[in-house]
């Protein structure tokens, strides 16, 4: 086989595509790698199927590999896996460009979208139907939020960083424990999203979310930062806790909602698949993944300089999981 095969997350796909294309252009003696889409889960599954010519070399993931996955990888003979964290993805709330400015906090989001919210220390079914009921500073719109579906890793981040955070702040945890739930149950209660049609799961990509906002101008959507930046003329981004999301604010950690992006390399393939090593090094080069590189231009939040160096060193050093 003379072509690198990559599979996995569709969030990472655009970045991997850019790198693959440029890799093919720069290293004319190697073919352009094939980058499959199909989701982190499916990618890791293929990755963990075994080592050898007929298995993929790299799995892209928008979440870290789970321990159980590493386990099954090892069982299948994929013992040496190199993890590369190449940057971050900011998660933003946005509305139609023509609408008013939005300032959100995790509490607002929790109160608007959770299935049960704490009112006077008790958990009750979410009574809110308009954003203005949640927070009088918000517009008088019916609540209609397009949030990532449960297949997406983004959903986890959304629950973690918005719902649970908002829940804690709004006293939902206490209310839940007061109603007799243990700690785990309380968290689960916090992040349960209402199912009355006001919060709509989107299992497709952000283009679908954008189309929904197009057809419902009073909807709020959750997007990746990169997607928003590419469609800034159609969307208006909301601040979260007063911070406007941008590559800078996410990179500095000011903006709270973001997640790391990964890819995993099969170390055993480095010596076998021509160009694999070069590809990974090319990916991690500042030319690609740095603040001035095309990935950042597309919307990737680059990792801080030190972290990038650390990742490069870890890869060349052959560090495995």
């Amino acid at each position: 086989r003379d072509q690198i095969q990559v599979a996995g997350s569709s969030t990472v796909l655009p970045y991997a595509k850019i790198v693959a294309e440029r890799f093919g252009e720069t290293f004319t003696n190697f073919k352009t790698p094939v980058v499959e889409s199909g989701g982190s889960g499916a990618g890791i599954k293929e990755f963990c199927k075994g080592a050898g010519e007929d298995t993929i070399d790299i799995a892209n993931a928008s979440r870290a590999m789970k321990d159980s996955e590493v386990e099954s990888c090892k069982k299948a003979g994929v013992t040496d896996i190199q993890e590369v964290r190449f940057g971050y993805d900011g998660i933003v709330f946005a509305t139609d460009a023509a609408g008013p400015d939005w300032q959100l906090t995790p509490v607002d989001v929790y109160k608007a979208l959770a299935a049960k919210i704490a009112v006077d220390g008790k958990l009750v079914d979410n009574p809110n139907t308009k954003w203005s009921q949640v927070n009088s500073a918000l517009p008088d719109w019916d609540i209609a939020a397009y949030i990532p579906g449960e297949k997406h890793g983004t959903r986890e981040v959304f629950e973690e960083k918005m719902l649970i955070a908002g829940c804690k702040e709004a006293g939902g945890i206490e209310a839940a424990t007061a109603s007799g739930l243990d700690e785990k149950g309380a968290e689960a209660a916090c992040k349960a999203v209402r199912k009355d049609g006001k919060a709509v799961d989107i299992d497709g990509d952000y283009t679908e979310t954008l189309a929904r906002i197009d057809s419902n101008k009073q909807g709020v959507g959750v997007f990746g930062l990169s997607f928003y930046e590419n469609n800034a003329d159609k969307l208006k981004v909301a601040t979260v806790s007063g911070v406007t999301p941008s590559v800078e604010t996410v990179a500095s950690g000011e903006y709270p909602v973001s997640r790391p992006l990964f890819f995993y390399v099969k170390k055993a393939h480095l010596g076998i698949v021509p160009g694999l090593k070069e590809y990974v090094e090319f990916f991690l080069d500042d030319q690609m993944v740095g603040p001035e590189g095309p990935l950042a231009e597309y919307g990737l939040v680059p990792a801080p300089d030190a972290e990038r160096q650390e990742q490069r060193d870890a890869f060349t050093g052959g560090k495995t999981m």
Partner: protein, 438 residues
Amino acid sequence: MTDITASSLPVAAPPARRDIGLKKRYAAEARFRMYGIAAITFGLVFLAIMLGTIISKGHTAFWQTTVTLPVTFDPTLIDPQNKRESDPSVLIKANYDKLAQQALISKLGIDAKSKPEVAKLKGFLSDSARIQLRDMLVANPALMGQTVTVPILASANIDSAFKGQVDLTVPEARRKVKDQQITWMNQLAAEGTLAEKFNTGLFTYGASSRPETSGVGVAIVGSLYMMAIVLVLALLVGVAASIYLEEFAAKNRLTDLIEVNINNLAAVPSIVFGLLGLAVFINFLGMPRSAAIVGGITLSLMTLPTIIIATRAALAAVPPSIRQAALGLGASKMQMVFHHVLPLAMPGILTGTIIGLARALGETAPLLLIGMVAFVANYPATPFDPATALPVQIYMWANEAERAFVERMSGAIIILLVFLMAMNLTAIVLRRKFERRW
């Protein structure tokens, strides 16, 4: 001849008209006809709407904004140390962006020293100019030092702006095209340097992360491979299976089992065929990932039930008297089937094939699991090389963040539909040939 006297005979008085409910029946007849027309109109109107949307969105994809610039292959820029004799890789690594930029600067008459001005040029020309110029020089090193007029693609954003797809009323900060670039664009367009040209690249390029250089070339080849495989496998196997089941199989439990089975396979979600393809062809038989061969076989299995069901219905519709006539002449059953029944069933078989192929041609989900929903830039030389397919390209473009991909997606859909129409046309011709009433 009739005797003349006969005509003087009295004519029968018409009997009392029976009431056979004619009024009502004709109303029913008219209604029935109306339903038919309404049904067809409904279908056609929908077709028109769908085609209208697709074409109105996609026709612009067939045009691409191009800037024709005189580019000087300046050795001092390409090979400042003059090492190209000893190290050919210099030619590959050189800064070709600069060449294009210089050409543009001199064309626009900008002050090359004004940094902010020059910075705004970034993103005016396609990033692919670099590769284009490099390939030109590598292919013909004699160009070094010469000035050549090269058509260079404008970037996707400029392309959109030039096609009027960018809302210029939006504040500059929230657009990807800056006001200065628009001014330049208009300036170049007025000179005739910048113009829309037929987008051959759409047909020849493979996948790319740059909208302006992405095309369906690889996808078309992949789809063609797969369609060829599906046509051969599904049609042959499908017709063979139908013949066996309809004409030869004893009517017993096993036949029922197979029949139910086939009907059931038609209801299996297409992605499950992807699971099957992954498990059987890739994991078990060790066929390559992302390859058209696996895709083709998988889609064949998916198309098979459709073809079998249609073919069986068509075979069953051939009147028994034809079969008897053939058998009575001493034709064997095999001859009866292949000489008479099959040709008579042909229109139905063709219909099934068209519907099956149309589905196979537009299907993405099963390809997802066998790795064909992928970024593939190189052309597949054989069906065993990585490839994508038209619907996959459509699907992937539909999910791109950049707006410019939307028009490409619609363009790709138009191409897909043209494929389909070509198939349909063949079917019409064949059907006309075979169709008979008896």
